[in-house]
Symmetry: C2
Amino acid sequence: MSKGLRTRREIVNTALTMALDVGLEGVTLGTLATELDLSKSGLFAHFRSKEALQLAVVAEAEAWFALTVVRPALALPRGEPRVQGLFEGFLRWVRGEIRAESADERPPALGGNRCIFMALAEEYDDRPGDVRDALVRAQRAWRATIERACRLAVDEGHFRRDVDPTQFAFEFMGVVMTFKHSLKLLEDDDAEPRARVAFGGLLARSRAVA
Amino acid sequence: MSKGLRTRREIVNTALTMALDVGLEGVTLGTLATELDLSKSGLFAHFRSKEALQLAVVAEAEAWFALTVVRPALALPRGEPRVQGLFEGFLRWVRGEIRAESADERPPALGGNRCIFMALAEEYDDRPGDVRDALVRAQRAWRATIERACRLAVDEGHFRRDVDPTQFAFEFMGVVMTFKHSLKLLEDDDAEPRARVAFGGLLARSRAVA
DNA sequence: CGACAATACGACCGATCGTGCTATTTTGCA
DNA sequence: TGCAAAATAGCACGATCGGTCGTATTGTCG
């Protein structure tokens, strides 16, 4: 990989980390450049606008999410185990545990740990533009992933036939969102067990009586 | 009420509305002054710092929330009706329907409609300061309100004795958060019925068999 | 090694940020 | 109605915003 692309990735990953603290609009070219020991103009040359940088950040977040959350779950057997894997992966993600594939790729967000998608959802939910569009696309894809896993669980006979995958994904998201809220804002130590109880209930309700 | 206090409220309510679009940090003294046909310094004189303005906005939001969500629910009979009232009020709030008590008090946020507390939760969940502290206090109070209503429902015999009010409030919040996410970001038309199904399930699980 | 393209830098632009200070207008009351 | 007090405006400040441009440095490859 060329020098340019390497620094570009460093920029994007650092911007991703900073965005967790101050939001994506709050990531400033100046502070970002200082953080990276780069000149502002040298940094800016990699993207022709700030919005391009923001889009790159969203794309990078998607890549890490796929690697950390989706991929490991897809390695699990289809049905309930995979659904559970998605949930566990999502918890890891919200806790800020991001894993790198190869050794030389350091993952972002070592300190500032929280789900950037939920942060961006609030930041952009009524701010039209390409960033919002990219975000919506990513979130819809994620919901679809949950739905697909749920549908497979129905097909496998793990879940009841009358389980609605869309409703399942809707409630799945709710559990993780309130988990994040409790953990990060309210600093509730019991957030994780409570999330497991809630999700356990959702699973139990969906499960076939067998 | 003196002229000063009146304009002060106008400022705060307008800032509240703007914060729904651009976040609380994103509300600029300049744009706020322009919006209100005030000079920047004239506006600034009402608060001695931007943070004071932000704190006033949070306090104002709490007041509207109490008026729109909590108060109507407390008028309902204790037990399940009151719990349901809190949920319906919260849905109204998230949809942006804020009611004024007296005619001369125009409520804020006519256009930009979404829950400012969820937005601030993301904005401040790792940004220490007085604003965050105020927000955390407000959110904990809200959770406590839900828990109290749930406990009363247990006492009234509407809910099962082994229902955990804290867990109930945790899941209650999850339903509304995923509702807001679906409605505002994903623009899902089915968000509201899905939220009702989810909450209905939560109620059904909590209900005493009787 | 030499050369050309890729990359980074420094200076600078107009605009706007939050925040003082002082002058002027407006308000409420004696 | 007059006057102190309250409210608002005017102006300026240092800093920083996203972005441009010309130039220097550096990486890459023949």
